[in-house]
Symmetry: C2
Subunit: 397 residues, 2 copies
């Protein structure tokens, strides 16, 4: 029966996170492992009201087959929002997708031949690796840290390999929480200018910014090469599965054909409800609420870490988003810490799935968006005890 399958799906990893968490959780376990937005902040009442309104306003029209490109008023709203941020994006360059994840699949599908070079961040977003793996590229990881992407490494690759795609999350990255500094962006743009490489700027967390500092979008720095991915999942709700791709011709034409072949169009009803919601309510006011909650939770987590973790353990200082990245001393594997932490009723994601071809790494991801201050303090205390146990060698396996 193994003969049945295409080569392309042989390599796609199952969700590592699902697998390790499957049997791990006993009641009372505190989880920093999730990658979810905080459900208590979903604007349920407002969406309910918007739903009522669209039933009255559109009736049967809500439910017919509709355009592959997406619901036009929603695309116009997205273009307008970019304009407010200083980016000129024509409506025709916006394609609504079934979440950003579908954007990645469609980009892989339209651009990648087997063996094509794809630069990814290391550590990098697992979902992107999964989506692209299907198209069997050659992954070329470039390290990222709080100083951004390693530009020397990038430059060497660009000079020595044929690179079709570069995938980045420059703001409050998943998994590490880092943001590319301004100089780093300028340097990256300088290296890539004039090459035939598509630069993907995936920005699901960009609006969840804790500080006032704002960096320049690659869409401004590399207008001809950048494909922007956006999403309502982290700023409104994920369950509607509504995201978008910004791309210009001739790529957009291919993306629309691929979208049609993939699922005809994104759920039209939900696009309409979402448009009504952003028309009737202030999305920025809602985002402020999320920011205020996540910032507070991040501060509690960071403070607890600084208070309880041994000095040899370091972590990132995210200026937004949902994640914080911890680096253990090199001799400690995060997977071993996981086994120990589970017993102490706290879980996280070991760094392993965020690297290509590295295992037993000494980094891990902590999510702060879903836990309240007290839970965070308790969880970090438990985690610190597990780390100290490991460091003292009492449990090295």
């Amino acid at each position: 029966m193994e003969n049945l399958f295409s080569d392309r799906v042989r390599d796609v990893p199952r969700s590592f996170i699902r697998e390790i968490l499957k049997d791990a959780l006993v009641p009372g376990t505190i989880s920093f492992a999730g990658g979810l937005p905080n459900r208590n902040l979903f604007p349920v009442k407002e969406i309910q009201a918007a739903t009522q309104t669209v039933f009255e306003r559109y009736g049967n029209d809500l439910f017919q087959y509709s355009a592959s490109e997406g619901f036009l008023p929603l695309r116009e709203w997205i273009a307008h929002r970019y304009k407010e941020k200083g980016l000129e994006v024509p409506v025709e360059h916006i394609l609504i997708t079934s979440g950003s994840q579908q954007g990645l699949d469609l980009l892989g599908k339209t651009v990648l031949n087997e063996g094509d070079g794809v630069i990814i961040e290391e550590p990098g977003y697992l979902g992107a690796i999964q989506a692209f793996t299907v198209y069997r590229p050659k992954f070329l990881p470039v390290p990222v840290s709080e100083t951004g992407m390693e530009t020397e490494h990038l430059e060497t690759l660009v000079q020595s390999e044929k690179i079709k795609l570069i995938y980045t999350v420059p703001n409050f990255q998943n998994p590490s929480g880092i943001t590319y500094p301004e100089e780093n962006r300028q340097k990256i743009a300088q290296i890539l200018k004039g090459t035939e490489t598509v630069f993907i700027e995936d920005d699901p967390y960009g609006d969840l910014r804790f500080s006032k500092n704002k960096n320049t979008s690659f869409y401004s720095l590399l207008p001809e090469q950048t494909v922007l991915l956006g999403s309502f999942s982290k700023i409104v709700i994920p369950g509607f599965r509504i995201g978008w791709i910004v791309a210009s011709e001739p790529l957009m034409e291919k993306l629309v054909v691929a979208k049609q072949a993939a699922d005809l169009h994104t759920n039209a009803f939900s696009q309409c409800v979402l448009h009504q919601y952003v028309s009737d309510y202030s999305l920025d006011a809602h985002i402020s609420k999320i920011i205020s909650a996540y910032r507070g939770q991040k501060e509690v987590m960071l403070k607890s870490i600084l208070k309880h973790f041994p000095e040899e353990v370091s972590c990132t200082r995210p200026e937004g988003g949902m994640f914080l990245w911890v680096t253990l001393p090199k001799r400690l594997a995060a997977l071993d810490l996981f086994d120990l932490a589970v017993k102490d009723k706290v879980v996280f994601v070991p760094g392993d799935p965020f690297y290509i071809g590295q295992t037993n790494v000494h980094t891990l991801r902590l999510n702060f968006s879903c836990s309240d201050a007290e839970t965070i303090e308790t969880g970090i205390l438990r985690l610190s005890k597990a780390i100290k146990k490991m460091l003292s060698g009492r449990s090295v396996q």
Copy 2:
């Protein structure tokens, strides 16, 4: 810039139907070209009530990320419905997809390597051809007609080629409206039994049956090889984009991984609303209404055709679904008739896009689900005049 694209998207046809209809329509044109269910029959009030209920019942839970496999109660409902029809389908074998179209994409993705043999019906469903083209198979068309699939042709192909997939719409096919007779199904099953071929039984129209006669599902005849595709698009609404795949292990495991890589999961809110709708209302009562309307419209269309079309023109007698298929005398190309008919304010889909590598065919598709009796009579009369003009040679180009 052409270098940018993957080989796989170079070949995907744009929507032929969209293209030919783009500039064609003047006001007052009657369209039999659509492939849409009748919007006047959408159960809007009931869905609105179901939506209210789920808001009250589930609140925030509606909007979080959810399972790639789909909303469990909906999958259970689908399993139960199959059981009522005499098919035993375990819940674990059901994956909710973003419409059946996504089912085709996921199947192509998990099964097809470049050059693999795929048997398709001729004429056959354009969306399937689009979805599979992305994976660059070798299409092997087998003619279908009111006697079903040509089994001699099928047998020759199965013996001479390595066939990975067979794609069929055995009930009230799009585009032709034909249904595979019982003996034909038995014969097909006999030919395929024991081969390593996946048989796709796409059944979006199966419930829209005008008569009492029911044929055996391939899922019963070839249980180990058949993948069933189902959809709510034609029996409830298409705008939610909710369909499903029935497949067993190990294929299902690969499909779930591919689903996750493609868009994480299908819109959870809409799955929940749909489940509430089918729980609170009788879907069969609703389907009866659709059947009664479509059957009436089909009868008017058939009667008008028999009355007005020249004798040399023949057509299928659909026992369900939304389409009827017309065969012109061989010397008349449907595309030429289209040009003439547009001027007479009636449009249809020329057969061309439903064949692989044949053009200027003498067949065409008529949709009867979206027009009332009077419109159908007027439209068929207009079309008959255009045909007669062509036959009399007055407009041969």
